[in-house]
Symmetry: C2
Subunit: 720 residues, 2 copies
């Protein structure tokens, strides 16, 4: 597996380096590359980029590499404004791409993805065992140029890089909200930027069956509202991903999460139908009947044709969240359990999975499923995709199953990038055996589909998933959160260049709110307020917007806000820096905080008037009021801090009450992320003995308490 | 032809209307529909839209209509925030769609596209002879809902509508700058919004051969830089367009504009090669040799396979701008002309076209070409696409050829929408015979590709092409420019909903300028300045940016500006209103103008500082200085007008000099569109006898002189 690759091949390069007199520098590496490479050594010189790049391939017939250099040139030219140098540009920077072999047309996950990149004033040498490694090297190279004044250059450097994990995935749920092929393609392009290599498509669920079956077309014609990929379209998509070094692993979630299947096959459900496509979110009762041979006949047909369509050996069968209601209520099923000595519903589930595994084995596939399928009765060749957490990983690897970590990477929860960044696929190495450790293949970010449309999905995936990509690619020791955020801001632009719409989607969402062109008086205030709000975390939106389901468009205030407000995060960082600066904070820092709050207060004050004209903005009235109250409390605390006086207890109490009010639930399902840093300001300003209160550990604890995201759900990924 | 349809079938509806007591109202019709329908009668009542639309189709198996209603629902739900009503919503507005026949899978241009739309509180009846007409009716229906406070409704109305012309096209040049299939698809969706029905793809030119040939793959492998549509991809695209009622007419431009062909076939050029893909813009020498049988053999192969790929009967062979250099220089060719009695190069061109026409006739195609192919020796069945102007239309129709008007609809010139809006395919009816008039099939907007990339092309097509679409669809009498602009602002949002990126592209372009995320101090000023500039008109950019060619990315200041600045247009309108208001303009109006200039001046003053930090913004320094000078001159004039005094002659002279300076060429290739209205202000403020000067006709003349766009090129669509 790639993560075990040694750097034997790199030694020669290091020796060569030493001879060339390039200075070796220790971490932290100064190149803004994301994911951070395994090893970087920088030299003092720079390679000028007056005329762009020219590539020479050691394997000039490798279509995957030729096309990749074409995309490289287009992205680079668009960023830099430099021309494509064409064939005749002696002043262009020469890039020699040396590969020793081509990976198979469809990557399998066992290829060597490592590469070496040597940049000097004389040119660039990119060498890799396979073209997949070379693709990664090209993405790194494309992150190296820096602009100084009007001219571009690259710092001299030697990079030795390889992935920590072989499986670095992104799950996209196309079942709950349909995502057309163009959405998938642009996100595949973005995945390649940050070296993710597996696209996991959650193709079926209660709310939709999203792929054409030729053996049973009734599945998609009755179960999809016409929203499904044709097989030809899917084959195209798989080729598109493979050209970018990305595998496609399909998921057909059975036996639960199958309402869309039993719309056309009610006879295969565990209780009589009829059934209709599910429009709501949660865990539902319909489940396939594992006691009927017809169930396996249908699965053999459908999974058989899908096994032929999807070249990857991994085949995900879901297996999660069967609530047992239908099985319990059906006496025939319970009798079957007794007669076959299966003990209980989990025993029946294991029986079902064994039958399923036989179908998949026959088709040459390796079964993957969520935690619930981990059962000692199944062959250890299957893979467990762990959404439940670190204990599930420990127990599954103890049973000898290979494991993926999804838990901690639930980007649909709208948590900050930092929370995902610090979740490691290897939860606590000291508690696992070497054998267990060797079973952890990697992880995947999960873009569940309840609250994303084709318009908003990019903004929910990017840029936060780049932090997860770094966790899966870079050495485990790379954990500096503030350095991650610094590089995340840059990689966000690189993702935009590659086609992701996470930055460009915003104006469209603001237009939804006002139903008009932007540029009206106050539109900048609306923009600012939206930038200062975030969607509620976890799955709370469903409890606040109880009217919303699959048929309700996602064009509200919550959809217009980003999962993590940069303005609020920078404010938080500056508050912490100011509060922890000493007994008396720097007055300029306090003034800067105050100025921001004043401007934001003024923007929030415009919302009522805007909402009078544009009814779609009414959703923002309550959050804007919360924002104003938060800003006012912050300004009062800052004034006290600046004057070196203690905030009076009754004023502090009033401020805390105002902040509680600003944190209250509202049907717009957004939060005011300025509340935690302002709580910290109020606490600092009202501390009687600031010197004692400012003992770093006490404050760090307070920050953690106040500012940490809400606790992730522990027992179910979908509320009932 | 559709434009000759009578409204016989509508009479019953009108009688029914009268019985129902719906009040009949005369034009101007108050519904913001674009293109304006032929006839509209509005009632006093309103149909409420509490719960969205539910469709019932008289032909429930018409896939084109089923898919269209699906897209309708998605766009409507996203705009309104109302849910898709699903199957069970008694309060939803019922829409009965009644069609009497299905148009063929691939529309031919001869189908009946008319429809009737009857909206009352009881529901909507949409009836049409074909599903193509019903598609148009759905687009009209989707433009009818109005929001009043929080609730949506439709005004009661009866619309009888049909196209004035059967050919309503958009040409996209994918040869000069490559446009991938997703660019074409989203623009096809936008075309359908404004009832355009022909996509003309300019597939080959000196700079690229953009479609896979299976008989001669060397054409695309050597002539495209790898940027071409596969035949499978093109077949998909044609189906995609056909499902939206849109034909696809391919253009293979021969015998000139063929450098990309002779890269792989130098033996077919009229002078010996070798040849390389052309990277520059203009009219070039390479031209196919019409004296060689091998030329016709290749054309028979390639056009033969393309005739099978493209189902439309019309087949465009270009035929423009052969400069004669190669033919003149080749004695064999000149001898051929003499031997065959062809007289001269135009005679040889006619000979070539006859041979070409024979190939196309055999394949069942109707030859279309630019003005240059009009020749009495050719059968009158061919169609002339007229880019040269009204005289060319007169002469070609006099020869008995059907004609299309492209001249006047050159959207690549970056002219205001109004200038295209007032160009009529029938230039002056009084100068044409009835027979000539019957030969005018319609027209097409031409998106030539020199200065558009996949990022910018939507902004160059939309929304201005909606004004052309109205010219081609609506009655000739619909010519109110200010009403057009009012509706254009709304239809622009409808185009965005349908997927066009003309509104969403802007932030990406600003990011190109700064190479960073937006939101930095001053980014709003940069946004404002960019919104107040326009690209230079005609093909002047090539003379100002002489270093630019196909290999240079289009990410500069000119690319970030829109062809028509809304801010500047509104300012111009307000200046004219204020100046023509009487001898002394309304002081509030003058104050509003002054306030705008002051704010814009302040924004422009920020540019130098921004450019210090972001070198990509340096391009804006000179235009921003021009903007400041313009604003200062305007403020001085406004102060004089407000005080009722005359601007001193030397001050007026200084102001005019400043405005001349602001109009000077700069390498950034943008103009300051505020200059003409400020010239008007200065003229008004410096007029000694304002009463006489304000005689409406004198001022209108002045406005015309000052504010009209530059004269379009008359002799060549591409500079040399």
């Amino acid at each position: 597996m790639p993560r075990k690759n040694s750097f034997a091949t790199c030694l020669c390069s290091l020796i060569a380096l030493a001879c060339c007199g390039v200075a070796l520098r220790a971490a932290p590496q100064p190149l803004d590359v994301m994911p951070a490479p395994s090893q970087v050594r920088t030299g003092a010189g720079r390679a000028a980029l007056a005329d762009g790049f020219v590539f020479t391939l050691s394997d000039p017939a490798d279509a995957r590499l030729i096309l990749a250099t074409g995309r490289f040139q287009a992205r680079w030219n668009a960023r830099s404004g430099l021309s494509h140098p064409g064939n005749a540009a002696p002043s262009a920077l020469q890039v020699k791409v040396q590969t020793t072999s081509r990976a198979p047309e469809y990557p399998t996950g066992s290829e060597d993805e490592s590469y070496e990149l040597h940049v000097s004033a004389k040119g660039v040498i990119l060498s890799a065992a396979t073209d997949l490694g070379a693709l990664h090297g090209l993405e790194t190279l494309l992150q190296l140029p820096r602009r100084d004044g009007g001219s571009w250059s690259l710092q001299e450097c030697d990079i030795l890089d390889r992935p920590r994990f072989a499986f670095r995935g992104l799950l996209i749920d196309v079942a709950r909200h349909w995502q057309p092929a163009d959405v998938i393609r642009r996100n595949v392009d973005a995945m390649a930027v940050v070296k993710l290599n597996v696209l996991h498509l959650h193709l079926t669920d209660d709310q939709g069956f999203r792929i054409e079956s030729r053996t049973h077309p009734e599945l998609q014609t009755q179960g999809s509202d016409g929203h499904f990929y044709t097989q030809a379209e899917m084959a195209d998509l798989i080729r598109y991903a493979a050209l970018r070094g990305i595998r496609v692993v399909p998921e057909f979630d059975v036996p639960g999460h199958t309402t869309s299947w039993v719309v056309s096959h009610p006879e295969l459900a565990s209780l009589p139908g009829p059934y209709a496509i599910e429009r709501w979110w949660g865990v539902f009762n319909p489940v396939l009947d594992p006691t009927k041979e017809a169930t396996y006949a249908l699965l053999a047909d459908v999974l058989g044709e899908m096994a032929a369509l999807f070249p990857d050996r991994m085949f995900h069968i879901g297996g999660d969240e069967n609530n047992g209601v239908q099985w319990n209520a059906n006496p025939v099923i319970q009798a079957f359990i007794r007669e076959h000595g299966l003990h209980d519903n989990p025993g029946l589930h294991a029986y079902f999975n064994k039958r399923l595994n036989a179908i998949l084995e026959k088709a040459g596939k390796r079964m993957v499923g969520w935690d619930e399928i981990a059962n000692p009765q199944l062959p250890t060749d299957i893979v467990i995709d762990s959404w439940r957490g670190t204990e599930a990983i420990a127990s599954s690897t103890a049973l000898g199953f290979d494991c993926l970590r999804a838990n901690g990477f639930y980007i649909d929860l709208c948590y900050p990038a930092a929370s995902h960044y610090l979740a490691d696929p290897v939860p606590d190495p000291s508690k696992l055996t070497q054998s267990q450790l060797s079973h952890i293949l990697g992880g995947e970010a999960t873009m569940w589909g309840e609250w994303v449309s084709p318009e908003t999905i990019d903004s929910r995936i990017w840029p936060r998933t780049a932090a997860i990509a770094e966790r899966l690619w870079s050495p485990a020791s790379v954990t500096d959160v503030s350095d991650m955020y610094r590089r995340l801001a840059t990689v966000s632009l690189r993702l935009d260049e590659a086609g992701a719409l996470h930055l460009r989607y915003r104006d469209g969402m603001l237009r939804h709110l006002v139903g008009a062109n932007l540029g009206f008086p106050g539109s900048e205030s609306l923009r600012t307020v939206v930038d200062l709000l975030e969607p509620v975390k976890q799955y709370r939106r469903g409890t606040l917007q109880i009217w919303s389901n699959q048929l309700v468009p996602l064009i509200g205030l919550a959809d217009a806000t980003l999962p993590e407000s940069d303005l609020a995060r920078h404010f938080s960082e500056d508050v912490e820096a100011a509060v922890f600066a000493g007994t008396r904070a720097d007055s300029a820092a306090l003034a800067s905080l105050r100025e921001r709050l004043k401007a934001w207060n003024a923007a929030a004050a415009d919302i009522d008037g805007i909402a009078d004209v544009y009814p779609g903005v009414r959703e923002a009235i309550v959050p804007a009021a919360g924002l104003r109250a938060t800003a006012a409390a912050g300004i009062e605390a800052l004034d006290a801090l600046a004057a070196g006086r203690t905030l009076e207890p009754e004023r502090a109490k009033a401020a805390r009450a105002a902040l509680d009010g600003a944190s209250a639930d509202s049907p717009s399902a957004v939060i005011v992320p300025l509340v935690p840093p302002v709580r910290l300001l109020v606490a600092a300003a009202s501390a009687q003995d600031r010197r004692a209160a400012l003992a770093p550990q006490a404050w760090q604890d307070l920050v953690r308490t106040l500012a940490l995201p809400e606790k992730p759900p522990t027992h179910s990924k979908h509320y009932n």
